[in-house]
């Protein structure tokens, strides 16, 4: 039974995907029920696995799809960190999407691909070899494209085109890298880094660049970030999913795997590859923040904020040190929770009151206090105000920078936090302290089940943002789990 658990966990969303595709629109209620119940089932399954992995039991499923090429799904602690996040946010995003779209057209397709996306993200997390990782990584690309072009207007199609060009080119580079590496050292399982000592430095460096470059596209590292702000053309639930868990996180997750499980920190430090990557991540953090400040569209601003925030993870991973990696891992979760909160709120504001740009926000806090409260918590978290989750991340990253003799990291973090404040606080100021503009539709935030359902997910994740910060030392908190990962494998 346990052997098939990883398989079950990955392919569970396939069932609601198929059902969503197949059910006619008039049975939409059933589709909603099925989607939510499968999300719950998956969460339960993840809970069960969390308990067993904490006891040190990892389960594994392997299948030799080609001689010498294993397809491996494994539940190690790092995988579970990502899976827990995705399972939790999947449930949240499903509820939100149902409320957001109501009974709009062609949702069957949307929920079908939505589920495939989650399948791919889970697969990315549990992949036990580079080639398995690649399989799911590509599947993720394919499954997200229909979501990006969901609206079908000129802008979405353009976004979809740009998204594909970036991500497929990235995947090609990544594929070249892993095939090259495999031809040198054979199959690479993510259990212990292979022995790379006999391989010329130049080759290793080139492969590293190919792989990180390829993964960096999804993680929106500069200069490969161009697709992300464009992808804002997608509906809010898609943006939430893309930014918080699926696409960008798959890239960041892959980079962590590359550094810690494929090359191993020793090889990376020996080759001197960590510092350039850290610098690039730092540059991305500052660049993203700068661009965010300049945006007037709320979703665009959030998008550039994502560019910046995801690189925190890469920064932490590339600094190579106990605190830094804990910071990176914990931020993987924290950023997800915070960013999904922000996107869901932005979507709700747009959906209910037609607010799209910063200037429209005046007085929105009075019309939709719950939404704006959740938004504010997310924004403060992003800035890194204690006791939110964001503070925990930045604290560890900062310590990690000091520990790795990279004091410039503190400057980057400080600068970024300043910029974060610069682009988030005005929103809060406008929403809470300015009088509402006349043209804003007057809405009653919590009227009707649909509307309550639209707010509820954001409220939950906002509370989670607070909880992750306030109860960071409790077992099973993201921080504790990140420490578990770091202690179990990444720090020797």
């Amino acid at each position: 039974m346990n052997e098939f658990l990883p398989l079950l966990l990955v392919f569970l969303p396939f069932v609601p995907a198929l059902i969503s595709f197949a059910l006619p629109e008039r049975m939409a209620v059933w589709r909603d029920v099925i989607n939510i119940s499968f999300a719950l089932a998956k969460l339960a399954l993840v809970g069960f696995l969390l308990l067993s992995v904490e006891d040190g039991v990892t389960t594994e499923w392997r299948y030799e799809f080609l001689q010498g090429h294993d397809f491996i799904l494994r539940t190690d602690a790092f995988a579970l960190l990502f899976i827990t996040l995705s399972a939790f946010l999947w449930l949240i995003a499903t509820v939100y999407a149902i409320a957001y779209f109501g009974r709009g057209p062609h949702l069957a397709r949307f929920f079908g691909f939505f589920n495939l996306c989650v399948l791919a993200a889970t697969g990315v997390a549990m992949s036990g070899t580079t080639i398995t990782f690649f399989l799911f990584y590509e599947l993720l690309t394919l499954a997200t494209w229909p979501l990006v072009v969901h609206k079908g207007d000129e802008k979405s199609l353009r976004a979809g085109r740009i998204y594909l060009i970036y991500t497929l080119a990235g995947s090609a580079a990544f594929l070249a890298g892993i095939v090259w590496l495999k031809s040198l050292v054979g199959t690479i399982e993510f259990t212990a880094p292979p022995d790379l000592s006999g391989i010329p430095r130049l080759e290793l460096t080139l492969i590293f660049i190919l792989c990180i470059g390829g993964l960096g596209v999804k993680a929106a590292l500069i200069p490969f970030h161009g697709w992300l702000p464009e992808a804002m053309a997608a509906p809010a639930p898609v943006s939430a999913l893309l930014h918080a868990v699926a696409v960008v996180k798959a890239g960041a997750f892959g980079i962590v795997r590359m550094i810690y499980d494929v090359y191993g920190i020793d090889t990376v430090s020996e080759l001197g590859l960590g510092t350039p990557l850290a610098v690039l991540a730092g540059a991305t953090i500052l660049y993203g923040s700068f661009r965010a400040v300049m945006q007037t569209d709320i979703k665009k601003r959030l998008a550039y904020s994502t560019v910046s925030q995801v690189s925190y993870i890469i920064l932490g991973a590339s600094l190579i040190g106990p605190f830094a990696i804990i910071g990176a891992l914990v931020h993987l979760v924290h950023q997800g929770i915070m960013k999904i909160t922000l996107f869901m709120c932005a979507g709700a504001l747009d959906n209910r009151m037609g607010i799209k740009s910063v200037a429209d926000l005046d007085g929105a806090g009075r019309a939709m206090p719950v939404t704006m409260a959740a938004f504010s918590i997310g924004a403060l978290g992003m800035i890194g105000v204690p006791p939110t989750a964001g503070f925990i991340s930045k604290w560890h990253l900062g310590l990690g920078g000091l520990q790795s003799d990279a004091p410039w990291v503190i400057a980057v973090l400080a600068g970024s936090s300043l910029l974060n404040a610069l682009y988030f606080l005005p929103l809060l100021y406008r929403a809470w302290l300015l009088p509402p503009s006349a043209k804003l539709a007057s809405v009653r935030e919590l009227d009707g089940a649909w509307n309550r359902m639209l707010i509820l997910p954001a409220a939950i994740t906002a509370l989670a943002t607070l909880a992750a910060g306030a109860f960071a030392t409790f077992p099973f908190s993201p921080l504790s789990w990140a420490k578990l990962i770091a202690e179990s494998g990444y720090l020797k």
Binding site: F21, E64, F65, L66, Q67, H69, P105, H106, A108, R109, I131, F134, L135, E138, L139, T141, L142, W145, P146, V149, H150, K151, G152, D153, L157, G160, R161, L164, I165, L168, A169, A172, A173, L175, A176, V179, W180, K182, S183
Partner: protein, 485 residues
């Protein structure tokens, strides 16, 4: 008893039956499918390299049939394609309103079986002259099917194919004169690098490159494949070009590997690379759907040629060999699916252009899904068989340090994504659902089944690698084909 000759005889028997049955001829398909399926399974179960000489005569007089890995894989893929395309065609090639015969509705079916039988004959024989006849069977049916769409394109195809056939025949004549045999297995033992052999090989290769539509001899393909009715296009792109390719394989890697100069392999590799790039760029530039899909065939054939130098240098590992043959199989299934899906979509909107597909993902979700899945395999994205093939080729290229080939493989995949997502983007465009009239909606199952197969065969990777490795001449030196009764 052996399935080898029955796989050729059965379609021919059905050809006669279809000819005799007039307006009812199409229904023979329902008998043909189980018969051919049974024979194909039987073929797959045969021990590696089993074969015999037809009629119980002996070489060099007789014609030897043999089941090696390539033949098994290609015959099986052909059977799947032909069966499903045939089912799809039942509606398109039907009698007129008053049960009277129509020229196309009647003639398609005998030609269909001629093509099927000819393709099987071509895959199974080791006799170069017999291959010539098989090639003509296939070409004749193919041109006639192309003529059902555009007479002009068919004429162009016909004239060029004729030259290709004659070039091939000239080579056969020279080889027979030189060695007093036209059997590949005997030639492999006797091959000498003399002028006659080299000339023969050169002209035969040129002829086959025409038949397989390899750049720069591909000119006839796009107009003919784009204009033909959907099931005909599917058969042409999936099966017909593969016959020329398989003969090329047999010549280069079975009969004359000893006298092939590396430069020749390199040349074919370059042609393949150019075909991938040129075909893709042309496909990107098309604004009609079927022309796009047809140029995609030009590009995909390029991969097969690109693999030639990799296969030759990778003796023993077999990765490139498997990659090449699996690519041929994957392309067969995916391209047939894509043409059928394209046919349904265009029929429904009554147009030809990409922009006519506007919003079709909503009106015909399953058909668009079939197109999309086929596209996944053609782009070489996981988990499809197309990915498996590309992965194996890429691995071989990287292992051999063939950086250029590896780059072409990767870039080709990206270009394929560019041109294949264009129609998909149109299908996903717009928020209003167009009103389409899909006749015989059950037909959607055909492209969907083919596309799903192309994608899911990726999971059966090792099985396909094992089958295709069953060529007595792919890895170790050639051995005599065994005779099984």
């Amino acid at each position: 008893m052996s399935p080898l000759d029955l796989l050729v005889a059965a379609p021919l028997a059905f050809m006669i039956a279809a000819l005799l049955s007039g307006p009812w001829g199409r229904w023979w398909l329902l008998a043909a499918i189980p018969v051919m399926a049974g024979l194909t399974v039987w073929l797959l179960l045969l021990p590696e390299g089993s074969g015999h000489v037809v009629g119980g005569w002996t070489l060099p007089l007789g014609v030897q049939l043999r089941a090696d890995g390539v033949a098994q894989l290609m015959v099986a893929a052909t059977a799947v394609c032909a069966a499903i395309v045939g089912l799809y065609a039942l509606h398109e090639f039907a009698p007129g309103a008053d049960r009277s015969e129509t020229a196309h509705g009647f003639a398609f079916w005998p030609l269909f079986y001629l093509l099927w039988g000819g393709a099987n004959a071509g895959f199974l024989t080791t006799d170069l002259f017999n291959l010539y006849i098989a090639l003509e069977m296939v070409s004749l049916a193919a041109v006639a099917m192309a003529a059902m769409g555009s007479l002009r394109a068919a004429l162009r195809y016909f004239v060029i194919a004729l030259v290709g056939s004659l070039a091939y025949l000239l080579g056969v004549a020279l080889l027979f004169s030189n060695y007093a045999t036209v059997d590949l297995t005997l030639l492999a033992e006797m091959a000498r690098p003399d002028l006659a052999t080299k000339t023969a090989l050169a002209v035969m290769t040129a002829g086959l490159l025409i038949k397989a539509a390899v750049f720069p001899l591909h000119g006839w393909l796009p107009p003919a494949h784009a204009a033909a009715p959907a099931p005909a296009s599917a058969l042409l792109s999936a099966i017909v070009v593969k016959v020329g390719f398989v003969i090329l394989l047999r010549l280069w890697f079975e009969a004359f590997p000893a006298i092939i100069a590396p430069a020749g392999l390199e040349l074919l590799g370059w042609l393949g690379a150019l075909a991938v790039l040129y075909g893709s760029v042309q496909a990107i530039r098309q604004d009609t759907l079927k022309a796009l899909v047809a140029y995609s065939t030009v590009a995909q054939i390029g991969y097969l040629l690109l693999a030639f130098p990799l296969v030759a240098t990778a003796a023993g590992t077999g990765g490139a060999w498997a990659g090449m043959t699996i690519h041929a199989t994957a392309h067969m299934l995916a391209k047939a699916a894509m043409f059928l899906a394209a046919g349904l979509m265009l029929k429904a909107v009554n147009g030809h252009h990409l922009k006519d597909l506007h919003g079709l993902a909503r009106a015909m979700p399953l058909t668009v899904a079939a197109f999309g899945l086929a596209a996944v395999s053609l782009m070489g994205l996981p988990p499809s068989a197309g990915f498996l093939a590309k992965f194996l080729l890429l691995e071989a290229a990287v292992e051999q340090g063939a950086v250029f080939a590896a780059a072409v493989l990767l870039v080709g995949g990206l270009l394929a994504a560019v041109y294949l997502f264009k129609p998909l983007a149109w299908a996903f465009a717009g928020s209003d659902t167009p009103v389409v009239v899909a006749k015989a909606p059950l037909r959607t199952a055909a492209p969907l089944a083919l596309a799903l197969l192309a994608v899911s065969l990726g999971f059966a990777g090792q099985a396909m690698v094992d089958i295709t490795a069953g060529s007595p001449w792919a890895g170790p030196p050639a051995t005599e084909a065994e005779d099984v009764q």
